[in-house]
């Protein structure tokens, strides 16, 4: 479980996160949704400690992140898997080496065991026969999937995914959504996903935080979101012709 408690964050006087409090639950796929530029990425980076919060706290299973020692922080981080919005693959390493990286860094397994695990993870994101290629040699969507494979290679306790299916076709998108949702339940991971893809919201949103103008505007789950009166959330959900038609509006 990860708690955000009254989190504020500003950049050069411009408030991006304004008093965000939310509980991200274990074993659930927690979604952060909102328009582009609403602060989803910033919130995620505050949660993992890449941005220091201006005030408020982030608590990992009872441990206040800003108050623990450097060593403890590193311990927690070894339990985190994170997918960056841009992938952030190591471009000097091949696809396989990227996925093996956390394994060889933090486990005592043999090279063969690591390779096996890496291949297993790559298979789960529908990637085969690209092991020896370098990040510059694969497509944007493939990069994203390699990054997901890398994020789950160590069986994380906390999984952060910043827009896991932007840039993916609908079929692959669903594969990735299902993968995230499956491993979350299977390994009781605390999963946090940033998205503005309505399909993901309806498929996997166990718990949803809607960020609007830097504030937590609405929260609920994939069922509530279709039946709320909140104007901003309805504008968001029914932004496309497709969703409007489905609702019969």
């Amino acid at each position: 479980m990860i708690e955000a408690i009254h989190v504020y964050k500003e950049f050069n006087g411009k408030t991006v996160l304004n008093d965000i409090s939310f509980v991200f639950e274990q074993g659930k796929t927690n979604l952060i949704i909102g328009q582009s530029g609403s602060g989803k990425t910033v919130l995620m980076k505050c949660l993992v400690g890449l941005f220091p919060v201006d005030s408020g706290q982030v608590v990992f299973n009872g441990r206040v992140f800003s108050e623990i020692s450097y060593g403890e922080k590193k311990k927690i981080r070894q339990e985190i898997g994170m997918l960056f919005q841009g992938g952030a693959l190591f471009d000097s390493l091949s696809v396989e080496e990227n996925v093996m990286f956390p394994l060889s860094m933090f486990t005592k397994q043999t090279l063969e065991e690591n390779r096996e695990r890496a291949n297993f993870c790559l298979k789960r994101v529908n990637l085969e026969n690209v092991n020896k290629l370098y990040p510059s040699e694969i497509s944007g969507g493939m990069k994203k999937r390699v990054a997901i494979a890398r994020a789950i290679s160590l069986n994380p306790k906390y999984l952060f995914c910043d827009e896991p299916n932007s840039g993916l076709d609908p079929t692959t998108s669903i594969v990735i959504d299902n993968l995230i949702s499956e491993i979350t339940q299977e390994y009781q991971i605390t999963t946090i996903v940033n998205t503005h893809d309505m399909n993901s919201v309806i498929e996997i949103g166990d718990k949803i935080a809607f960020i609007y103008k830097g504030q937590l505007w609405w929260q609920g789950d994939k069922h509530d979101i279709l039946h709320t009166d909140n104007k901003e959330i309805n504008d968001f959900v029914y932004a496309t012709e497709l969703t409007r038609r489905l609702k019969g509006k």
Binding site: L50, K75, R77, I80, F84, A88, F90, M105
Partner: protein
């Protein structure tokens, strides 16, 4: 005033660089890779420059020492002194600051702007140590070897130009090269080289690590890395010469 903040930031970064590594085996592998990419890859340029400068040095010495009172072997002697004391350790280090410094700053800078450093951090790796430490150690190991190679090739270049221009005979040149040889000169040169290697890699690592923005800033960081490590090499050259030779 403006120098204080970067200096403090640099020192804090160095503290992180020299923290205990998460996985010594991986760091060892990284050092070997860096020896290859920072050192072995620089052999070509070091060799070419050394041969040419050695050749030019000998010719200039020959023209400057144009007096019947000074023995001809002085040409070889003076060439050797300049090569060992100054040319190889300092000038070659400056060239390496250009090549290796920009390489390091742009590599680490690119990793910064594409969030690869954030990714390392999130995994629980200590990025300064993982990225910069192996480069510092590798350069401190391989640069002295490069400099020794440079000395040998520069002296060879001197011999070659003496031969080709007929300014002095082989045996006179060799006599000069061996005349009043002091082993300490080599020690002095290598001490300087090791210090310069540290300066180049740590300063370039610093500028790469604190890149912010995009591709444009990566280019800027790499220029800053080269300029600042060159200036520091010149400054420390002065200090070390005073300390070791005075």
């Amino acid at each position: 005033m403006k120098i204080i903040t970067p200096l403090g930031q640099y020192l804090l970064l160095m503290r992180l660089v020299f923290k205990k590594p998460e996985n010594p085996r991986i760091y060892f592998k990284r050092i070997i890779q860096e020896i290859d990419s920072l050192g072995i890859d620089s052999l070509g340029i070091v060799a070419i420059i050394s041969i040419f400068i050695g050749a030019v040095l000998t010719i200039q010495m020959a023209f400057n020492i144009d007096s019947p009172l000074i023995p001809i072997y002085t040409i070889g002697f003076a060439t050797r002194k300049s090569v060992i004391l100054e040319f190889s350790p300092t000038i070659v280090s400056l060239i390496l600051a250009g090549k290796v410094g920009s390489q390091i700053a742009s590599e680490i800078g690119t990793m910064r702007v594409t969030e690869q450093i954030d990714a390392l951090e999130i995994m629980g790796v200590n990025p300064p140590s993982y990225l910069i430490f192996p480069k510092i150690i590798a350069a401190m190991i391989i640069n002295p070897i490069l400099i020794l190679v440079s000395m040998i090739l520069a002296l060879f270049g001197g011999w070659l130009s003496g031969e080709l221009t007929g300014l002095l005979t082989s045996s006179t040149y060799v006599l000069g090269i061996r005349f009043a040889f002091k082993g300490f000169d080599i020690v002095y040169a290598l001490v300087k080289t090791v210090v310069f290697a540290f300066l180049i890699t740590s300063i370039s690592g610093y500028f790469g690590y604190y890149t912010s923005g995009g591709a444009l800033e990566v280019g800027r960081s790499s220029t800053k890395a080269v300029v600042n490590s060159s200036i520091m090499i010149l400054l420390f050259n002065l200090i070390l010469t005073q300390l070791l030779l005075a």
